[in-house]
């Protein structure tokens, strides 16, 4: 093949079929927006039922996580996500799916080495670096308050 690696890579990238960015954004906006609206709806319903604001703030994410986990286990979530892309990935629903799907997948390898060891294979980096980032933020805030 008379082409050096760099030129070949450029040629391949140039000719590769591209994702339709505007359609992807529109779908992510629609489904992502729907999930946020659902969250707000749950917030209003729980408030109407006379729950304290602190409890409602905990219950809304718990409900969304439960729904996402349920839909994942019913083989439905991945089909919605295929359409919605970042629309289901970015809200807390994506996080729930990222934890439940490896758990489902690794059942066959047992509860210790399968589910136990692999449940965070997808969400693990988010948990680790999320904790790290908030710790750093906390330290900065602590120091800044002295001035």
């Amino acid at each position: 093949m008379n082409m050096d690696d760099k030129t070949y890579k450029k040629y391949v990238e140039k000719r590769a079929t591209k994702s339709n960015l505007s359609a992807d954004c529109a779908r992510a906006f629609l489904i992502g927006g729907f999930i946020c609206t659902l969250g707000q709806g749950l917030f209003d319903i729980y408030t109407m039922l006379g729950m304290s604001e602190d409890n409602v703030k905990a219950l809304v994410p718990v409900s969304l996580v439960f729904l996402a986990a349920l839909l994942t286990s019913l083989n439905v979530f991945d089909n919605i996500a295929k359409f919605a892309g970042a629309g289901t990935l970015v809200p807390i629903t994506g996080f729930a799916n990222a934890v439940v799907s490896p758990a489902l997948d690794t059942k066959a390898e047992g509860f210790i080495l399968g589910v136990g060891a692999k449940i965070f294979t997808v969400a693990g980096p988010v948990i680790l670096y999320g904790t790290l980032a908030s710790t750093i933020y906390g330290i900065i805030l602590y120091v800044v308050r002295y001035f």
């Binding site: 083989n75 979530f77 295929k82």
Partner: protein, 340 residues
């Protein structure tokens, strides 16, 4: 001088073949060609890995049945798959009372098995061998990508691993078609590190093997009824045709890609097409071989490509080497005018 094309003077026969597939393949345009299927993709097994092994067992048994063979008629099996350490072949073909070679050529394994098996039959070491390969979408996704229920999107250049297994039985010269020549591939790495564009990673290997074949044999693409590539998909196929054209070989009229044949790209959401060891294997056993038997195809090149990577190499950012093995399969008894 280094060996190029290997001519199999005795012209070993491809006696029979059998294919087993899953649901998506049965929704595709080649549904009628396959021997057995399971629309649940499980083949009554508790794990996906075992389902894949079971497909190999069924494919091999079906092929033996079609040829009227018992296990003692088969001298050796050449088999491979995509799952770590080729366990689908190891478990699927366990307890068959014959010699076994486990091969890894990624998605090129069916061509690799045909090449090695036919060379050993031609040399007289074996009189009858089987080539068996498989891939299962679920076991492959689990190993190479994300959990099955993970809600992610695939890029348009990504390919869909075929759920399927095929077995082909090669024997001493008897029934048509015959394997006339083989050209083993060389590992080619042109610096592609995107595992979602394996067509582009494998195309250079296919270009290398085909160009070497045409250069050495002096044949032209149009001398063949068809040239079947394994699973270059949409991206890889276009790259192959483009580059060979610039080398003076226009294969566009005779080129078909098994990865593009097995699914309907518009309808089945498979992005750039099918892939996996089961892709070209099932298309070959189910679709190509019967056409050769009926002489609808007379002289073909079957060239399957493989991407030789694993999850660690991809995560380490390494580039993806490709390989392409070629077999020329013909219905004629010889090249000097003694056509049957």
């Amino acid at each position: 001088m280094q060996k190029g094309i290997i001519t199999l003077t005795s012209r070993p026969s491809i006696i029979c073949g059998a294919s087993v597939v899953g649901k998506k393949e049965m929704d595709g345009p080649l549904a009628r060609c396959f021997d057995k299927y399971d629309l649940t993709d499980t083949f009554d097994m508790p794990t996906w890995e075992q389902s894949e092994s079971e497909m190999q067992r069924i494919a091999f048994n079906t092929a033996m049945e079609k040829g009227g063979f018992k296990i003692h008629d088969i001298d050796a099996i050449f088999a491979g798959d995509l799952i770590n350490q080729c366990i689908s072949s190891g478990y699927g073909l366990a307890n068959f009372d014959t010699q076994f070679f486990g091969l890894f050529g990624a998605c090129s394994t069916m061509a690799e098995s045909l090449v090695l098996g036919s060379m050993l039959v031609d040399s007289g070491k074996y009189s009858r061998v089987a080539a068996v390969t498989s891939s299962h979408n679920c076991s492959a996704e689990r190993q190479f990508r994300f959990p099955l229920e993970y809600g992610g999107q695939r890029t348009p250049t990504a390919q869909w691993t075929v759920t399927g297994s095929a077995a082909v039985i090669i024997g001493e010269h008897s029934d048509l078609p015959y394997i006339a020549e083989v050209l083993p591939g060389r590992v080619c790495d042109k610096g592609i590190n995107d595992s979602a564009n394996m067509g582009a990673a494998m195309a250079p290997a296919a270009i290398d093997t085909l160009k070497r074949y045409f250069d050495e044999s002096g044949k032209k693409p149009d001398d063949f009824s068809a040239i079947f590539t394994g699973d270059l998909g949409y991206e890889g196929s276009s790259i192959l045709v483009d580059f060979l054209r610039s080398d003076g070989y226009d294969i566009s009229r005779v080129h078909h890609d098994c990865g593009l044949m097995i699914y309907d790209r518009e309808r089945q959401d498979v992005h750039a097409g099918g892939s996996g060891c089961g892709c070209c294997a099932t298309v070959f056993a189910g679709h190509i071989l019967p056409q050769l038997k009926e002489k609808k195809l007379k002289d073909i090149l079957f060239i399957a490509t493989g991407a030789m990577m694993n999850t660690a190499s991809i995560q380490q950012g390494l580039t993806i080497p490709g390989i392409a093995h070629l077999a020329r399969i013909t219905v004629s008894e010889g090249d000097d005018g003694q056509n049957s």
